[in-house]
Subunit: 136 residues, 2 copies
Amino acid sequence: MDPRISIVTLGVSDLARSTAFYRDAFGLPLLADKSSDGISFFEVNRGSLWLALYPRHLLAEDAGVEDRPGSFAGVTLAHNVRSKADVQALFDAVVRAGARPVKPPQDVFWGGHSSYVADPDGFLWEIAFNPYSWIE
Amino acid sequence: MDPRISIVTLGVSDLARSTAFYRDAFGLPLLADKSSDGISFFEVNRGSLWLALYPRHLLAEDAGVEDRPGSFAGVTLAHNVRSKADVQALFDAVVRAGARPVKPPQDVFWGGHSSYVADPDGFLWEIAFNPYSWIE
């Protein structure tokens, strides 16, 4: 696995409020052409990392975990790879190496191909191919 | 505020186990000279971001929040600045702009100067001067 975090996603209770907060209070640059009423992306670290805001219950649903404090931190870290085949290969490799499989690789509604694994504390990593973003 | 996340810190229940997991299962490069028995740092995104592992109860203590699921996600995002004075100036600015103050700027035991604010969902951002790391 390349040492890379592509996206830090915060699961928020009010997307419009949090988007305004990060844009106005923190002054982060909203990626308007990538964002929508349903998700917000901000470009940080000179474009090498995105901060995403997504409704918390939908983030839990995307990972296939229960949206309960204690079982879901409300934060995910995404590691994007270059192809669907790379998602499967990396998912298999890290699960063999000890990561807990949470969601096997599958196509997702937004056009990507995504999987989730968990670290020993249950922190979620999404391993995904996202045809709309590639950050290296 | 410059659009920058310097460090993503995961509050873990067993530091040795999680350090082994990220080093061996994920293959992340441990910054051995920056890490210790008490904290682990990994360099990601070509050196522009660190992933830190720190005992969860100590991370909560550092921020001055209760270590309870629901009130503490177990993750913090650090935004490092260049001086103690910059910590105070940025803390004041984001609090004026609507961030919730959690811990006012103060010297901390490891030699830095640190503060915490929270976003609308309580996600914690550390605004800090760290004389031992500067990533831009």
